[in-house]
C-alpha cells in the first residue's frame, strides 16, 4: 500500500501492468542473448534468451532499460505496441564497459564512486605483447607502465605504477585474476597469461576503492577478468599474427681505426707504452668489427590463439589455447609460451550455480646474461673494441686475448650463444566457485583457488677447446681459459599459494529509491616457497647438459630453501547505498592479519569511504542540451603494503652462513652471529589517500571526460636504514622511518569526432593524461641512504625532500681548459686540463664526496597516451601514440662508451670530439688511460632527458564483407597489419628511452620495432 502522504502525481498503483515482449539484436542482425532488461525505477526485469528474445510484465507507460556489457545502454519508453519490440543495441565504443569489477563484486559504471579505470579486450588485442600489462601503457589514466627491457616474452618485467610511487621498495600493484589475488613479487607476473584470454582489466586506483583489498592494496589493484561463455552464442575464434622485430636504433661506435687513435692517445697521455702492436698503425685497421651487427638481429614473433565460447542458460563455457613465440632481437634469446584455459559456468537450479576458471601455462625463456646489467650482452657489445674480430680465420669464434688485444672481456656473441641458460615456468591458476541465492538478492558465494608456480632455471657453460688460445710459447692464454671447464647449474623452485573466500552479498531496492548492497566476507590466503639448486663442473661432454650428467664429486654447491608459510587472514565488508539514482555512498572496511609480523602486531584495519552525486540526474540539469552527464565523486581510504617488511624482522636472527676453518686439515666450522639488528616495532607501510573525481559528458556524451585529483600520504614507509658497521652488523635494518606524499591528477578524455552508422566514417579519439608529484618528506630516525649503484658508484639516493629514485652525484661544470683553470678551482685530485670540472658545492676548497647532490630523478612530469580509432565500412585504423615528458635517465651506458678515453674499452664516436687542447671542447674530456680525474664518477655529466613521444602502435584492419563470409560460413574475418614502436621522438642518446622504472640505463635490452600481419577468423 502506498503511504498516505504519497503525492497525488504518483499514479504507479493506478497503472495497469501489461505484457511486454520483443527481441534484441546487434547492428548486424545477430541476436544478443543475456541482455538485461529492467523496467526503469523498479526491480522488474528479465534477460534475453539465446535468440535474443525477452518477455516480462511492466506497468503501462513505463520505460525499459536494455543493458549489456560492451553495448550502449538504451532506454525505450513503452507507448503503443508492447509486443514484438525490435531493439537494436549498438556496440559501445565510448564507455569501456557498463559494468566495473570492484573487488568481490561488480558495479555499474554510473554508480562507481571511487577512481576506477577499465581497459577492454579490444584495446589489449591491438598490441603484440607477451605481457598484458604492457598493453596498459598509455591506456588508463594514472597508470604508468614502463617496460624494464625488450627481452622476448616480457621476461625483463614491466613496471606498473598506479598513481606514481608510494614506497622506496615495492611499488607493484596487487593483481587479482578471476578473483584470485596473485602472490606478490616481481614485475613479470602476468606474462604467464595470454592477452587473448582477457575480457577486461579494471584498475582500482584510489584508496576508497582499493581498501577492500586492505593490507596489500597500497599500490592499487589490477583486476583481470578472463573471457567467459555467453548463453546462446557459440563462436569459434582463430587469431593469428606473425611478424618481424628489429632494433630501431643503433649507436654510433668507434671503428677500429678510430679506436686505435683514441687508445694510443690515452696511453701516451698517461705515459704508458702502446702494448698492442697492431694499434701502432691505426690506418691499417679500417672499420673492424661492428659488434652491434654481431649481437642484434631481425627476429620473429608469432601468436596463434584458438578459442571457443558458448553454451546455454544452464551451462556456458569458454575454452582457449594460445601459442606465443618471440625471438629476441639479441642473439641467443627467445621465448615461447603455451596457454590453455577452460572457464565454465553451470546454473544447477534456480538457487545454485557454480563455475570455474582454469588456466595452465608453460613458458620457456632462453636468456642471455643479465638484461639491463653491467657486463650484460648489450654493455659487453659496447665495450668490445672494433679491432677484435668476431671470428677467427678458421671460422670459429674469436676470444679476446689479454696479451694480444689488451682486452680481456668475453666475446659477447660467445657469451650469449654458447652459455645455455633457460628459464621455464609452469603455472596452474585455478579457481572454483559456488554461489547460492536462497532468497532473491542474497548471494552466498564460496571461492577457492590455488596458484601453483613451478620454475626451473638450467644453465650450462660448455667446454670449448676451440676457444683456447695459446701464447707464443705454447702455453694457454689466461683469458681463453673461460671455456676450459664445463659447468652446469640447475635450480628448481615451487611456489604454491592457496585461497579460501566466503562472501555474502545482499542487494535490494527499498521503496523504489533506496538501492542498498551489503557485502560481508572472509578471506584466507597462504603462500609457500621452496627451491633447490645444484652446480657441477667438469662435464666430459657438452651434449648432456643436465645436472646428473656432471661428475658428482664436483658438485660445488647444492643449496635449497624452504620459506615458512606466509599467511593472510582477512575479514571485510562493504555497504553501497544509492538514493534515487542521484546520491551514492560507499563504505568499506577490511581487517587484515599477516603472519610476517610480531604476534600482537599482526592485524590492521583498513577503511575506505566514498560518495558521489550524479548532478546530471537533478531536475535542473536533466535534459540539458550541453551537459549530458555530470558526476562528482569523493573518497578517502587507508591501505597497506607489507612487502617491504621482510619476514620475522622482529627477531634477532643468527646468520648461519658464517664459517671458518680450523685444524690441521682445515675443517670448516660453523659460526653464528646476528648480522642485522632486530626491530620489533616494524609494521606494514600504510597510505592514506583522498580522491576527488569528476565525470563529464557533453552533447549527448559526444565528449566525455573523467578527471581525478588525489593526495596520498604515506606516513610510515619502511626504509632500510643502514647501520654503521660500528654496530658489528652490516645488514640494513627495516624501520617505519620515512614519510612521503604523492599528489597527482588523472585525466581521460574521449571525443567522438565523427559518429556514423555502419557505413560512414566513425572516428574516436581517446586521450589519457597522468601527472604526479612525489616527495620523500622525512626520513625520521633514518639517514639518507643509497639505492641502485653501478660500477661508477652509487646512483640512486633517498633523502628528505627528494622524489623517490632521485639520482645523486657530482655536478659537472664543463672542462678545465688550462692549468690556471685547474689551479683556480677547488682542489680536485688528479685533475688536469681537459678533465671535467666538478662543482665545489660545500665551498671547502676540496672536491670530495661531500660535494655530491641530487642531480635528477626518473619521475616524469607527466605521461600520456593518445588513441585514434577510425572505422569506415570494413576498414579500421588505429593510431596510438604514447609518451612520457620530463623524466630523466642516468645513462650509465656512457660509462662504457666514454671509457674509451680512459682504458681499453671501445666507445661511441662522441669521444672523437674530445678535448685536445684549450678551447677544443667543453663537453668531452681528454683521453688519458686510468682516468686520474675520475671523469667516470657518477655526475650530472651522464644525465639525459628521457622524454619521448612514440608511435606505439599503428594498426590497419579490414573486415571482409558479409557476402564473402557467407560463402565460407564464417561469421567474421578481419585482416590486419600492425606496426609497433614505429617512430620514437626523443633526445635520449641510448638505445631506447624506456629503460625501466629506475631510470638508470645499465645496458637495457632495447624495445623492438615490430611489423606484423594478422587475421581474426570467427566461426
Amino acid at each position: 500500500p502506498a503511504p498516505a502522504a504519497a503525492p497525488a502525481t504518483m499514479h504507479a498503483t493506478l497503472l495497469a501492468d501489461v505484457p511486454v515482449s520483443g527481441r534484441v539484436v546487434q547492428e548486424n542482425g545477430q541476436p544478443l542473448p543475456g541482455v538485461t532488461v529492467i523496467v526503469k525505477g523498479t526491480t522488474i526485469g528479465a534477460s534475453t534468451d539465446a535468440n535474443g528474445n525477452f518477455s516480462l510484465t511492466a506497468p503501462e507507460n513505463s520505460t525499459l532499460i536494455f543493458s549489456y556489457v560492451g553495448f550502449t545502454r538504451r532506454e525505450v519508453p513503452l507507448s503503443g505496441a508492447t509486443a514484438g519490440l525490435s531493439i537494436t543495441l549498438q556496440e559501445d565504443a565510448r564507455a569501456l564497459s557498463e559494468v566495473v569489477v570492484v573487488g568481490y563484486g561488480t558495479q555499474e559504471r554510473g554508480s562507481v564512486t571511487g577512481a576506477v579505470s577499465s581497459v577492454s579486450s579490444r584495446e589489449i588485442a591491438t598490441q603484440p605483447v607477451a605481457d598484458v600489462t604492457q598493453a596498459l601503457q598509455g591506456r588508463a589514466a594514472g597508470v604508468t607502465v614502463t617496460s624494464n627491457g625488450g627481452a622476448p616474452g616480457g621476461a625483463a618485467g614491466t613496471s606498473v605504477r598506479i598513481r606514481g610511487l608510494t614506497s622506496a621498495g615495492n611499488n607493484s600493484p596487487l593483481y587479482v585474476v578471476d578473483g584470485f589475488p596473485l602472490p606478490d613479487g616481481g614485475e613479470n607476473q602476468l606474462n604467464a597469461i595470454s592477452p587473448n584470454d582477457i575480457e577486461t582489466i579494471d584498475i582500482l586506483k584510489d584508496a576508497s576503492a582499493t581498501a577492500i583489498y586492505g593490507v596489500r592494496a597500497a599500490n592499487g589493484v589490477v583486476i583481470i577478468t578472463t573471457k567467459r561463455g555467453k548463453a546462446g552464442v557459440s563462436t569459434i575464434n582463430l587469431d593469428v599474427y606473425r611478424g618481424v622485430q628489429s632494433v630501431w636504433r643503433k649507436l654510433e661506435l668507434l671503428n677500429a681505426e678510430e679506436y686505435a687513435v683514441i687508445n694510443n692517445e690515452s696511453r701516451v697521455a698517461a705515459g704508458q707504452p702502446i702494448v698492442v702492436d697492431r694499434l701502432r698503425n691505426p690506418q691499417a685497421l679500417g672499420e673492424g668489427t661492428d659488434w652491434q651487427d654481431a649481437i642484434f638481429r631481425r627476429a620473429a614473433i608469432q601468436n596463434y590463439a584458438l578459442s571457443a565460447t558458448g553454451g546455454s542458460e544452464k551451462a556456458r563455457f569458454a575454452v582457449s589455447g594460445t601459442y606465443f613465440q618471440q625471438d629476441g632481437t639479441i642473439v641467443g634469446s627467445n621465448f615461447e609460451r603455451f596457454t590453455l584455459r577452460a572457464n565454465g559456468d553451470v546454473q544447477v537450479n534456480r538457487i545454485l550455480k557454480f563455475g570455474n576458471s582454469i588456466s595452465l601455462t608453460h613458458l620457456s625463456d632462453r636468456q642471455i646474461t643479465t638484461n639491463n646489467g653491467e657486463y650484460g650482452t648489450v654493455q659487453q657489445a659496447l665495450r668490445v673494441p672494433a679491432i677484435i674480430p668476431l671470428y677467427r680465420p678458421d671460422g670459429y669464434f674469436y676470444e679476446p686475448r689479454g696479451a694480444q688485444d689488451n682486452f680481456i672481456e668475453e666475446n659477447p656473441v660467445v657469451a650469449a650463444t654458447l652459455n645455455n641458460q633457460r628459464f621455464t615456468r609452469n603455472r596452474a591458476l585455478t579457481t572454483l566457485f559456488a554461489e547460492l541465492e536462497p532468497v532473491k538478492g542474497l548471494r552466498l558465494r564460496t571461492n577457492v583457488g590455488f596458484d601453483f608456480i613451478f620454475d626451473n632455471f638450467n644453465a650450462f657453460r660448455p667446454t670449448v677447446p676451440e676457444l683456447r688460445v695459446n701464447n707464443p710459447d705454447g702455453s694457454q692464454d689466461t683469458y681463453s681459459t673461460r671455456y676450459n671447464l664445463a659447468g652446469g647449474t640447475a635450480t628448481s623452485s615451487y611456489a604454491p599459494s592457496y585461497l579460501i573466500e566466503n562472501t555474502a552479498t545482499y542487494d535490494r531496492l527499498f521503496a523504489d529509491k533506496h538501492q542498498v548492497t551489503f557485502l560481508l566476507g572472509q578471506s584466507a590466503q597462504w603462500f609457500n616457497f621452496s627451491n633447490v639448486e645444484a652446480y657441477r663442473t667438469g662435464y666430459l661432454r657438452n651434449d648432456l647438459q643436465v645436472i646428473n650428467s656432471g661428475p658428482i664429486n664436483t658438485q660445488l654447491a647444492n643449496a635449497g630453501r624452504i620459506d615458512p608459510t606466509a599467511k593472510l587472514a582477512s575479514y571485510f565488508g562493504r555497504v553501497n547505498y544509492e538514493f534515487g539514482g542521484k546520491y551514492l555512498f560507499s563504505a568499506t572496511a577490511r581487517l587484515d592479519g599477516s603472519g610476517r609480523f610480531e604476534p600482537g602486531n599482526q592485524f590492521g584495519f583498513f577503511p575506505g569511504v566514498s560518495a558521489g552525486w550524479r548532478v546530471s540526474e537533478e531536475d535542473f540539469l536533466k535534459g540539458n542540451n550541453v551537459i549530458s552527464n555530470l558526476k562528482v565523486r569523493a573518497g578517502y581510504g587507508k591501505v597497506g603494503n607489507p612487502n617491504n617488511a621482510g619476514r620475522f624482522a622482529y627477531l634477532f636472527s643468527i646468520n648461519p652462513d658464517i664459517q671458518y676453518p680450523f685444524g690441521p686439515n682445515g675443517t670448516i666450522q660453523n659460526g653464528g652471529a646476528p648480522t642485522r639488528l632486530s626491530n620489533n616495532e616494524l609494521r606494514w607501510e600504510t597510505n592514506n589517500q583522498t580522491n576527488l573525481g569528476f565525470d563529464f559528458g557533453f552533447l549527448d556524451n559526444r565528449f566525455e571526460a573523467t578527471v581525478d585529483l588525489y593526495n596520498r600520504n604515506s606516513p610510515n614507509l619502511i626504509a632500510p636504514v643502514p647501520v654503521s658497521l660500528v654496530s658489528g652488523t652490516y645488514e640494513r635494518v627495516n624501520r617505519n622511518a620515512a614519510s612521503a606524499y604523492n599528489r597527482g591528477i588523472d585525466v581521460s578524455f574521449t571525443s567522438h569526432n565523427l559518429q556514423g552508422s555502419s557505413r560512414a566514417v566513425d572516428w574516436t579519439t581517446n586521450l589519457v593524461f597522468s601527472a604526479y608529484k612525489t616527495r620523500l618528506e622525512s626520513l625520521g630516525v633514518g639517514q639518507p641512504y643509497n639505492g641502485l649503484g653501478s660500477l661508477a658508484g652509487v646512483i640512486v639516493r633517498y633523502d628528505k625532500g627528494q622524489a623517490f629514485g632521485s639520482y645523486y652525484g657530482y655536478v659537472a661544470d664543463g672542462l678545465f681548459q688550462t692549468p690556471e683553470d685547474v689551479q683556480k678551482h677547488a682542489t680536485q685530485n688528479g685533475a688536469a686540463p681537459g678533465d671535467i670540472r666538478f662543482k665545489d658545492l660545500n665551498g671547502d676548497g676540496l672536491i670530495t664526496a661531500l660535494d655530491r647532490t641530487f642531480i635528477g630523478n626518473p619521475n616524469p612530469d607527466f605521461t600520456y597516451g593518445i588513441n585514434n580509432t577510425v572505422t569506415w565500412k570494413g576498414f579500421d585504423l588505429n593510431v596510438f601514440l604514447q609518451g612520457s615528458q620530463g623524466n630523466q635517465i642516468y645513462n650509465q651506458n656512457r660509462y662504457i662508451l666514454e671509457s674509451a678515453l680512459y682504458g681499453n674499452s671501445s666507445g661511441s664516436t662522441r669521444v672523437l670530439g674530445r678535448w685536445t687542447g684549450p678551447g677544443t671542447s667543453n663537453t668531452v674530456p681528454r683521453a688519458i688511460a686510468g682516468d686520474p680525474n675520475t671523469n667516470l664518477r657518477v655526475s650530472s655529466y651522464y644525465m639525459e632527458d628521457g622524454s619521448y613521444l612514440r608511435l606505439k602502435t599503428l594498426t590497419l584492419g579490414y573486415k571482409l564483407p558479409a557476402a564473402v563470409l557467407g560463402r565460407i560460413s564464417a561469421k567474421q574475418i578481419r585482416l590486419y597489419v600492425t606496426g609497433q614502436n614505429l617512430v620514437t621522438l626523443t633526445k635520449y642518446t641510448g638505445f631506447d628511452p624506456e629503460v625501466g622504472a629506475s631510470g638508470v640505463d645499465l645496458g637495457v635490452y632495447p624495445q623492438p620495432r615490430v611489423l606484423l600481419a594478422g587475421v581474426n577468423i570467427g566461426f
Binding site: T478, G538, P564, G593, S653, S727, A929, D931
Partner: protein, 475 residues
C-alpha cells in the same frame, strides 16, 4: 581463528630466542668472531692493500689503467674516503669487535662446559684486542664499544681517544693471557693461545713505545711457548708446515670453496699476486702487489729470504718455464712469491695457505728492539739474521750485527730486519707508521705523502650513517 592461523615461526633460521644456549652455540659464536680474519676486511684484501702496497715494499701492479684503482689510491697516498679498502678494513674490524662483544656478553651466563666457557671468553678478548689494534693504528681515535648495541644511539657514538682504545686492548690481552690455553690439538688448532695473546701484547707495547714491556712479553713467549725458529725461513710459508713450530697465530685458509670473492674461505693472494697472465696459478695470475726495485735491491747478498719472497726474472716456474724479464704491471719482472701455491685446484682461484699474524721471529725482533744493543738484544736480532742466511741459528756468525753499535743504528738495523723478515706479511705500513718512516722515507715523499696520511680517512659510508663520527683532518 586468525591468531592461530597466523602463528608462524621461522622454520629455516636460528634466532636469539633459541641460540646462545649450548656449548656448541658458544663455540659457534666465537667462530663467527674469527671468520672476519679471513675475509676482505682483514687478510684477504684490506690488509695487503694497506700493509704491503700502501708501504714502500711494493706497488699496485695489475693490468694498468684503472685496474686496482683502490690499491693505486693507497699506493699514491691519494686516498678518498670512498676507497673500498679503507671501508673494508673499518667494517671487517668492527664486525669482528661486535662478534667478540656478543661472546663476552652472552657466554659468561651460559651453563656450559666450563673449559670451553673460559676458552671462549679468552678468545673473544684476544680477537677484540686484535681488531681494535688494527683500527686504532689505521684510523686513530675510534668508537669504543664493549657490548653489543641494541639501539642506534649506542652505535652512533663519538670516537674515543686512541689512548682509551689502547687501554682496552691491553686489558683484553691481559685477560686473554689468563683465560687461554697454551696450545690446542686436533680440530682446535688455529685458535688463539695464551702465547698468541702474549705475543700480540708485546707488539702492542712496542707500538705504544713501552719498550721494556714489549721486551718482557716477547721474552715470555720465546721462553714459554715452546716455539722455535724453522731452520729454513721458507717453511713458514708452506701449506705442509702450517701452524708449525714457529707459528704463534695464523689466519686459517682452505682452498677450492669459493670463486671470485674476497670473502670466501680461501686466500686470494695466490691468484692476485701471481705473475700476470703467466698461467702458473688457476686463473692465470693478476700480478698485483709487485715488489719495488728499491726493496728488492736492498736484500743483502746471500739472504735466502729473497728467493722465498720474490719472483725475479729467470725464476723457474713449476711447469719449467721461467719468469720473463718484464710483465704487464711489473716492468722489472718482479712479483710477490711468498704466498704462491700454484695450481691448487683446476679453476678455483683461492688458496689454502695460511697467513701468519704473529710468528716467533717477530718476537725476537721485538725483544731486540725493546732491549736495544745489549748482549741479549743483539743475540735476538742475530738469531733472525743467521736463519736468513741459512746459518745455524744459535752460533755466532759473520752476518751478525756486532756489539758496539750505537743505539740509534741498532734500532735502524732492527727496523730494516723487520722490513725484510716480515715483508708481505701485511705489517710494513704499520711499521713505517710506528717508526715515523711513513712520512720521512724518500719513497713515500716521492709518492707525495702528506702528513695527514698517517691515518686513513673514516669511510664515507660510515660518515653518512653514523652521526657520531667526524672525518680525520686532511680528508
Amino acid at each position: 581463528c586468525g591468531k592461530d592461523f597466523l602463528a608462524e615461526s621461522p622454520t629455516d633460521q636460528v634466532t636469539d630466542a633459541n641460540f646462545y644456549k649450548t656449548t656448541t652455540d658458544a663455540i659457534q659464536a666465537v667462530n663467527a668472531a674469527y671468520s672476519e680474519l679471513g675475509k676482505g676486511g682483514q687478510y684477504n684484501y684490506a690488509l695487503w692493500g694497506l700493509g704491503d702496497i700502501g708501504a714502500d715494499i711494493s706497488t699496485t701492479g695489475g693490468g694498468g689503467g684503472g685496474d686496482g684503482i683502490e690499491q693505486q689510491q693507497l699506493d699514491n697516498y691519494n686516498i678518498p674516503s670512498t676507497n673500498p679498502i679503507v671501508a673494508r678494513l673499518w667494517g671487517g674490524s668492527f664486525i669482528g669487535v661486535g662478534r667478540a662483544n656478543i661472546v663476552l656478553q652472552k657466554v659468561p651466563t651460559m651453563t656450559i662446559d666450563p673449559a670451553i666457557q673460559k676458552r671462549s671468553l679468552g678468545e673473544a678478548h684476544f680477537l677484540r684486542a686484535k681488531y681494535y689494534f688494527d683500527l686504532v693504528r689505521a684510523y686513530g681515535d675510534v668508537p669504543l664499544l664493549t657490548k653489543p648495541p641494541v639501539s642506534l644511539a649506542e652505535v652512533n657514538v663519538a670516537r674515543s681517544p686512541a689512548a682509551d682504545v689502547y687501554a682496552l686492548i691491553v686489558k683484553d690481552l691481559t685477560e686473554a693471557i689468563d683465560l687461554l690455553p697454551a696450545s690446542y690439538s686436533g680440530e682446535d688448532i688455529g685458535r688463539a693461545t695464551k702465547w698468541a695473546a702474549t705475543g700480540l701484547l708485546a707488539k702492542v707495547y712496542l707500538t705504544q713505545g713501552n719498550l721494556a714491556g714489549a721486551a718482557t712479553q716477547a721474552k715470555a713467549v720465546i721462553a714459554g711457548s715452546g716455539k722455535s725458529l724453522w731452520a729454513d725461513y721458507g717453511d713458514n710459508f708452506k701449506v705442509a708446515t702450517e701452524n708449525g713450530k714457529e707459528s704463534l697465530f695464523e689466519v686459517q685458509y682452505i682452498a677450492g670453496r669459493n670463486q671470485y670473492t674476497f670473502d670466501g674461505l680461501g686466500f686470494v693472494g695466490n691468484e692476485f699476486f701471481g705473475p700476470r697472465g703467466q698461467g702458473i696459478v688457476p686463473q692465470g695470475g693478476y700480478g698485483f702487489n709487485v715488489p719495488e726495485p728499491g726493496f728488492v735491491n736492498g736484500y743483502e747478498a746471500g739472504d735466502k729470504r729473497r728467493q722465498v719472497t720474490i719472483w725475479e726474472p729467470g725464476d723457474k716456474y713449476p711447469d719449467g718455464r721461467v719468469q720473463p724479464a718484464s710483465l704487464p704491471g711489473s716492468p722489472n719482472g718482479y712479483n710477490c712469491k711468498k704466498w704462491f701455491v700454484g695450481k691448487v685446484n683446476t679453476n678455483i682461484w683461492d688458496s689454502e695457505l695460511n697467513i701468519p699474524v704473529l710468528r716467533l721471529a717477530e718476537m725476537y725482533l721485538i725483544q731486540a728492539e725493546g732491549e736495544g744493543p745489549t748482549a741479549s738484544g743483539l743475540e735476538a736480532l742475530n738469531k733472525v739474521r743467521r736463519r736468513a742466511f741459512g746459518l745455524p741459528i744459535d752460533a755466532a756468525s759473520t752476518r751478525d750485527i756486532a756489539a758496539g753499535i750505537s743505539a740509534a743504528d741498532f734500532k735502524k738495523a732492527v727496523w730494516r730486519e723487520r722490513k725484510y723478515e716480515l715483508a708481505f706479511e701485511n705489517d710494513r705500513w704499520f711499521d713505517m707508521k710506528r717508526t715515523g718512516e711513513l712520512l720521512t722515507s724518500d719513497y713515500t715523499k716521492a709518492k707525495g705523502i702528506k702528513s695527514f696520511n698517517v691515518v686513513l680517512p673514516i669511510p664515507q659510508d660510515e660518515l653518512d650513517v653514523n652521526t657520531g663520527l667526524k672525518q680525520n683532518p686532511g680528508y
